[in-house]
């Protein structure tokens, strides 16, 4: 019946076509196939060139239309190269379309799509086949190293921590440094609820002229994600994708063995303990993904479920994620009405474990026992510590095994998204679009510290032991957008106009409470908090709650795109946007952009060159602050012992607070010969009016105020090359590099200079290591230069200015006579990604190397624990090749600043296509190795750049990931995960 209906449709088409043409015509028919597997291509377009006449292939890949001899038929199919065939004597034209890189590939830009050729800004599309493989824990990792100028770093590789993402380096100083993520048109979506298996493409908008349509949140760049959709006229197809992998720690720090430690004067308790072994594990990762997709002529759908179980290399760390996603797209009312639904639901159970265990494993006394009962040389009350040994009289040390075995640190997160887009073609060329979206997230985190845990459990307290923390938050994001698109051709010119309105609201609320004092270890008391003795003594209970205001963004926007002679491409856009976060006097901003591109080859007519495009774009984008309320006076409530209350100012109002602005000019060249494609971008960006918490005179009650100040300029070059080196029937080799470099200079700041990035306790508080100075680069590591050891074992420093005085105290860092200099820079000089893809018959090998060069890191472990301090003999000593004999005092200097250039084999995948196995089609098996080796001179655990600093954290304090100091890159903090090496087996097939 279906077949009959299809044929009837075709017949009707023929009739229509037949009446439209008066010339003598004949019926041409044939099949369109993919030569790689002989599959029919369903829904491929067949068009008589220069006319409106055409059809599409049916579910057998066949077509039939009327054409005259001499006509040229154009066959096209998304993802394949177009092919033109002249109609000759034969009535049958069978065509094999070759999958290829289409110059006319459609790229998603804000509020619409454009052909790649028409783009005048720096936009890079990354498609599925280029994604990183292996046990990916967050969607951003798919992109690591793939886009020139896009930095994705997850230092150490903690599976529970989102990657740091930067486009073209630091794009904002006081505001949100992470790019804006747009998923299927929904602005401000999160990458965390996307399963990597559901992603079809990323479009990365790198420059201001591309991102300006997103206005006050576009400064950090925009990552547009398109999820997989069903295909038209395709029967239901199921796809299974499975992975099973193991990961092990690959690099740690060099520390002393028990015998070395004893020989170096360490406090010898007589045991041999490898603390790092005690707290790490082989992590097992398994992923199962199942999707169903298909479609009719008018409607396509795709549903998927993904289950992801990831164990980290730290014992008991990892997560379970379950994700479902559904997309439905349909056309109605003679195809004038299009409706797209998408919805997803994600739950994630996380076991954060305690990264502190890794830190304390590094510095744990290797001669101390794990269990207290083993210590017989001295009395020890192990029962108080759940059987574990604790060194007790030592600042900032806890038995790492006890930390992870006795305590719990878990979280549950759920994310729900719903989006619908309704498009209606009002008249020919004029389409209206309405979009509504809602995203709801909730987290529920819990920490339980056992009454016998010294680490945060107060095991040494006689009465108040144990602690339970409860944290809940909920966030809600709503989006309503409507826009009109009008497209019209005038001879050889084509104009597209888009204009619309956007309304967004975010709400957030959280609550936290903490109770403690549990009687013993008989159960996990976080499940029965009424047992807490803190109820009897309410002053110990800690509770807080918060709710955000209605955080609103309202915008109007418009864009015009003009194409002339298929050669000149002009794009201009403007967005007017207001935010509730800004001061009432400056809530609204205007963000314009303009860009021009020209296909030079239309004039040069170079042989074998498909495209030689030059483009230039300029755009202004903004950034909003992370926090609410910065424009208003803030007061904290004080409860006094006499029962009185009062308020105390903690934040001064600033009604003039405005968005941080970025103006960016981008010049680019795209070159394509079919086998070789190259893209070069040169840019300049100037960020001004940083939203900064600025020091002010304390005469108004507080010495800080949020103000706009400062200017940062960045110049950069990005190059992407892709070359099909070998293209033989049975053997292909494709290789490519992405290269990026940039320099950021601080033109203006609130002060001529300051130092940031405190090294911290023990003993190195007030030791700020990163110089922030007007006229200088960002990320300069600043300090005295090590010059040997004096007779007391203290470090000597160089008298750099030769004045005979040694001005090296940490608080003298800004002194004009200071004997300090730039010791390195935390930002890489350049970064490189090198991809290699070999196909040999049914075998495919992908190797991806990645490197960053020219950056330095402060190795903080060494700075604290490498000197053989005679009064600090109960921590293990770090023992790298850079250790200095006789040095017995820890003091920050050039000694601890190391070059951290590295090259890493990020990803090696060997896969084999097996074909059909029984009922299973397109069976494919792959083996992936991640992080197989790293070449670096850095002695720390991980040479990846540290782009932000989260402060010194010690003695069990909790690290705050919400406040990265982006002006203090280059510090390899002690609270880091260890890098893992992973091997993963993957299979996928359809059925």
């Amino acid at each position: 019946m279906k077949r009959f209906l299809t044929k009837l449709t075709f017949s009707l088409l023929l009739v229509v076509a037949g009446t439209a043409f008066l010339t003598a015509q004949k019926v041409v028919s044939g099949t369109v196939t993919d030569p790689s597997n002989g599959d029919a291509l369903i829904g491929a377009s067949v068009l008589v060139k220069g006319t409106q006449t055409g059809t599409i292939t049916d579910i057998d890949g066949t077509y039939s239309l009327k054409a005259s001899a001499g006509d040229v038929l154009v066959f096209s199919y998304t993802g394949y190269d177009d092919q033109e065939v002249a109609v000759g004597a034969s009535n049958t034209i069978n065509v094999s379309l070759v999958a290829g890189k289409l110059l006319d590939e459609v790229v998603v830009v804000g509020y619409g799509t454009q052909k790649e050729k028409e783009i005048s800004s720096a936009v890079v599309r990354v498609t599925r086949e280029d994604f990183n493989r292996g046990p990916i824990t967050d969607a951003a990792q798919l992109l690591q190293g793939k886009v020139a100028g896009l930095q994705v770093y997850n230092r150490g590789g903690d599976p529970n921590r989102a990657s740091t993402i930067r486009i073209r380096g630091l794009s904002t100083v006081g505001a949100n440094v992470e790019p804006l993520v747009v998923v299927d048109g929904i602005i401000g979506a999160s990458l965390s609820n996307l399963d990597p298996n559901d992603i079809e493409t990323f479009d990365v908008l790198k420059d201001g002229s591309a991102a300006a349509i997103y206005g006050s949140r576009g400064s950090s760049g925009v990552i547009i994600v398109t999820t997989k959709k069903g295909s038209r006229n395709k029967d239901l197809t199921l796809t299974y994708n499975g992975q099973l992998g193991t990961s092990n720690r690959s690099r740690t720090l060099d520390i002393m063995t028990p015998s070395e430690f004893a020989a170096a004067g360490g406090s010898n308790l007589g045991f041999q303990t490898d603390w790092i072994n005690e707290v790490t594990q082989t992590g097992i990762t398994s992923v199962h993904g199942l999707s169903a997709e298909g479609g009719t002529e008018k409607t396509t759908y795709r549903a998927s479920v993904n289950a992801r179980n990831v164990d980290g290399i730290l014992q008991s760390s990892g997560f379970d994620q379950f994700n479902t996603r559904f997309n439905l797209n349909t056309k109605r009312l003679n195809d004038k009405l299009t409706i797209d639904f998408n919805t997803s639901f994600t739950t994630k159970n996380q076991n954060f474990s305690f990264n502190e265990a890794l830190r304390y494993a590094v510095i744990g006394n290797p001669t101390a026992p794990v269990n207290g009962a083993d210590l017989t040389k001295y009395e020890f009350d192990e029962a108080q510590f759940g059987g574990y040994f604790e060194a007790l009289g030592l600042f900032d040390f806890f038995n790492p095994v006890s930390i992870i075995k006795q305590n719990k640190n878990t979280g549950r997160r759920s994310e729900f998204n719903f989006g619908a887009n309704v498009g209606y073609q009002i008249i020919d060329g004029l389409t209206a679009n309405f979009r509504v979206a809602n995203q709801r997230n909730g987290s529920n985190n819990r920490q339980y510290y056992s009454p016998t845990s010294l680490f945060r459990g107060n095991a040494t307290s006689p009465i108040r032991k144990g602690r339970a923390n409860f944290y809940n938050d909920k966030s809600d994001f709503k989006l309503l957008e409507s826009y009109l698109t009008y497209a019209k051709s005038f001879g050889s010119a084509a104009l597209t106009l888009t204009g619309g309105h956007s309304w967004q609201q975010s709400n957030f609320e959280s609550s936290f409470f903490q109770v403690g004092d549990f009687p013993n270890n008989s159960i996990d008391w976080s499940n029965q908090i009424e047992a807490s003795q803190d109820y009897a003594n309410a002053g110990f209970i800690s509770a807080n709650s918060d709710a955000s205001p209605d955080e609103r963004i309202i915008a109007q926007f418009g864009r015009a795109s003009l194409t002339l002679d298929d050669t000149w491409f002009v794009n201009a856009s403007v967005r007017r946007e207001g935010s509730s976060k800004l001061g009432p006097n400056n809530q609204w901003g205007i963000f314009p952009a303009v860009g021009v591109a020209v296909d030079l080859n239309k004039y040069l007519n170079l042989a074998n060159v498909n495209l030689l495009k030059a483009r230039v774009g300029y755009g202004v984008t903004g950034s909003l602050p992370r926090e609410n309320g910065l424009a208003q006076e803030g007061r904290s409530l004080v409860n006094n012992p006499d029962g009185s209350t009062n308020t105390r100012i903690f934040r001064l109002a600033n009604p003039d607070l405005k968005w941080e602005a970025k103006a960016e000019t981008n010049f680019g060249i795209d070159f394509n010969t079919g086998r070789l494609s190259a893209s070069l971008d040169i840019y300049n960006r100037v960020i001004s009016d940083f939203i900064l918490n600025v020091k002010v005179e304390p005469i108004g009650g507080v010495d800080r105020q949020t103000r706009n100040a400062g200017q940062l300029s960045t110049n950069g070059i990005e190059l992407a090359l892709d070359y099909d080196l070998i293209q033989k029937d049975n053997f292909t080799y494709n290789t490519g590099i992405v290269f990026s470099t940039y320099k950021s200079k601080l033109d203006k700041y609130v002060f001529p200079k300051e130092v940031r990035g405190n090294l911290g306790a023990p003993g190195q508080n007030g030791t700020n290591m990163i110089l922030v100075q007007e006229g200088q680069e960002i990320g300069n590591i600043w300090g005295p230069v090590f010059d040997g050891v004096d007779d007391k074992g203290a470090p000597k420093f160089k008298d750099l200015n030769g004045d005979g005085k040694f001005v090296v105290g940490a608080d003298k860092a800004l002194d004009s006579l200071a004997d300090m200099q730039v010791l390195g820079n935390g930002i890489p000089d350049f970064e490189l990604g090198w991809k290699n893809s070999l196909t040999f018959g049914k075998w495919n090998v992908n190797a991806f190397f990645r490197g960053a060069f020219g950056h330095s890191l402060v190795n903080t472990f060494r700075a604290f624990y490498e000197p053989r301090i005679s009064t600090q003999t109960a921590y293990n000593f770090i023992n790298t090749s850079k250790a200095v004999d006789g040095l017995t005092a820890a003091r920050f200097s050039s000694l601890y600043v190391e070059k951290a250039d590295f090259v890493r084999l990020d990803n090696l995948t060997i896969s084999r296509s097996i074909g059909n196995v029984g009922q299973l089609k397109n069976f494919n098996v792959s083996l992936t190795g991640q992080n197989l080796f790293t070449i670096t001179g850095y002695t720390g655990a991980d040479p990846e750049p540290a782009l932000a600093y989260y402060g010194a954290v010690d003695n069990g304090a909790v690290e705050d990931f919400n406040n990265p100091d982006v002006l203090a890159p280059g510090i390899d903090s002690r609270n880091n995960y260890f890098v893992a090496r992973a091997v993963t087996l993957g299979i996928n097939f359809n059925f």
Partner: protein
């Protein structure tokens, strides 16, 4: 276009121009306007309701007894306390060594914290004074409190801005002008134009009700007597006569008495199994205990409470990690502050203040067992505080130095202690009167009576007239006032602050003022009243 409106604008109107299209930021989780609710203050008169709890809380916020601000800069720059660098621990970029050796600079963090904390406190006073509906007594107390904060600035920085309204800038005043402001404010609230033996303070809105967490007329006179005692330093004009009159007025007219053998409180730090631990704290010791609020000696104190009025962290700051087991502290201490050996040795063996003010020797836990430190650096795991400190930097032994314990620790103590911290107490008022009389007469024997009053209570032999000298008086004052943030000011007044002492060379006289913080100079630079740095920095 009409058709277009139907299709597009109508839904647009419906969707977007409803009730929620404004951009006003209505904060839900924060307070943005000031308010005060009164509290009940129990005092000798039975109790009053006042609004001053929050203003007096500024004494805690301004770093009176915690690490990193006013207390730290006063104590560590003097010869009574230091923080030695213990290997990697407590070096902190050298700023503690700088305080000890008087090489501090305008960027010194604690010098900055002291400045900011004091000005923030002054702002709270200014905001309070601008409120409507406050009583004359409240106004007078807050003016006196603000004058006290300016006394701290006058003493530490000298040339500062006199800010008297929130956010209203003022030019930098000279130290003499700051002195005059403090004097006139205090005289005004005391209700006299000058101090005299027969002055009538009955009209003072401050009143005479005893409440040592508030300022009555005697508290204000105590602050004034401190100001006058240092007038020669602050203004270059001696006011010893006025200092003596103000102090004498308190001693003779007020109800306060020295905490002597008749004042006892339970010893909250007692370990039942340690025989040396007394059941009660008596006299001097009781005056500084965790339950010292009823002491007859304290005229004006900073209220501290482990629960509702935190900010006194001496147990954390001074004790070795493992002293946690002596007192069953809820948190591990930090092993920072210790007493200089020479200062410790200035006490006679029988001085009750030596026993009270320090922890020395092998330490025992709650059960009476010796405390073992499994991370010990001297090969002997027994925790033993030695008065001798081997060196200031870089490798002081972790157990070196007698530990401050004047504000005695209690069992089950929290990081925040409950001992009220005296700003004005009668013991010091005796010393002020004695010193002022002696300086006025140019004869130290004139201080004999008052100094012997203090020595009697300390259980040491009384002196005869020839035993009182400037040096011996200063030493006696040091022993009595240890840990009360008085030593630096005293050393300056006695001309000894620039002398050499253990691990400290002779320093230049400009060090008698701290530098104006670099941040203050920088941030004032863009305004109408840029601050000028103190000479020498």
């Amino acid at each position: 276009m009409k058709k277009l409106n139907k299709f597009y604008l109508l839904p647009l109107v419906a969707l977007f121009f409803g009730s929620c299209t404004d951009l006003e930021e209505k904060l839900k989780g924060e307070i943005t306007t000031d308010f005060t609710t009164p509290g009940l203050v129990v005092d000798a008169g039975g109790g009053v309701t006042d609004n001053l709890g929050g203003v007096f809380a500024e004494l805690r916020n301004a770093g009176s007894a915690n690490h990193g601000g006013y207390y730290s800069v006063q104590e560590i720059s003097s010869d009574e306390m230091c923080i030695a660098a213990k290997g990697g621990d407590w070096f902190d970029g050298g700023i503690l060594v700088e305080l000890h050796r008087h090489t501090y600079t305008p960027t010194h963090d604690m010098v900055k914290n002291t400045w900011n904390g004091t000005y923030n406190a002054i702002n709270t006073c200014n905001e309070f004074l601008a409120k409507a509906g406050i009583t004359a007594n409240e106004t007078a107390q807050v003016r006196a409190l603000r004058a006290y904060f300016y006394l701290r600035l006058c003493d530490s920085y000298g040339n500062v801005k006199l800010i008297t309204a929130k956010g209203v800038d003022a030019p930098q005043s000279t130290r003499a002008q700051v002195f005059d402001f403090i004097e006139s404010e205090l005289l005004s609230v005391i209700g006299v134009s000058s101090v005299s033996a027969g002055m009538d303070v009955a009209s003072s809105p401050l009143g005479t009700t005893v409440n040592n967490n508030r300022i009555n007329v005697y508290g204000a006179l105590g602050i004034l007597s401190k100001l006058y005692l240092n007038a020669e330093v602050y203004k270059g004009v001696a006011k010893y006569s006025e200092a003596a009159i103000a102090a004498d007025f308190i001693i003779t007219k007020s109800p306060y008495k020295l905490a002597d053998a008749s004042f006892k409180v339970p010893n909250l730090g007692r370990r039942p199994k340690v025989a040396d631990d007394p059941a009660e704290l008596v006299g001097y010791a009781a005056n500084f205990g965790a339950n010292n609020e009823s002491s007859p000696e304290n005229i004006f104190t900073v209220l501290y409470d482990e629960n509702k009025a935190g900010g006194m962290n001496f147990s954390q700051m001074g004790l070795h990690y493992s002293s946690q087991f002596t007192y069953n502290f809820s948190d591990q201490p930090w092993n920072g502050y210790a007493t200089l050996e020479d200062f410790y040795n200035s006490y006679e063996a029988g001085d009750v203040r030596r026993k009270n003010n320090f922890l020395v020797g092998p330490q025992k836990d709650f059960g009476g067992n010796t405390i073992l430190d499994y991370a010990s650096d001297d090969g002997d795991p027994i925790l033993n505080y030695t008065p001798k400190i081997n060196e200031l930097v870089p490798n002081s032994k972790r157990e070196a130095g007698a530990r401050p314990a004047k504000f005695s620790y209690k069992q089950l103590g929290r990081p925040d202690m409950s001992n009220d911290y005296p700003i004005i107490r009668l013991g010091e008022i005796y010393l002020i009167r004695g010193e002022a009389l002696a300086r006025k007469a140019g004869n130290w024997a004139d201080a004999l009576n008052d100094v012997n009053t203090i020595r009697r209570r300390a259980g040491v032999a009384e002196w005869n007239g020839s035993q009182v000298t400037a040096a011996s008086f200063l030493a006696e004052r040091g022993r009595e006032m240890f840990q009360e943030s008085a030593r630096r000011t005293d050393l300056i007044r006695f001309g000894k602050f620039n002398d050499a002492w253990w691990e400290k060379p002779v320093s230049q006289s400009f060090r008698n003022l701290f530098p104006i913080p670099a941040d203050a100079i920088l941030t004032s630079g863009s305004g109408a009243n840029p601050l000028k740095q103190n000479p020498g920095y």
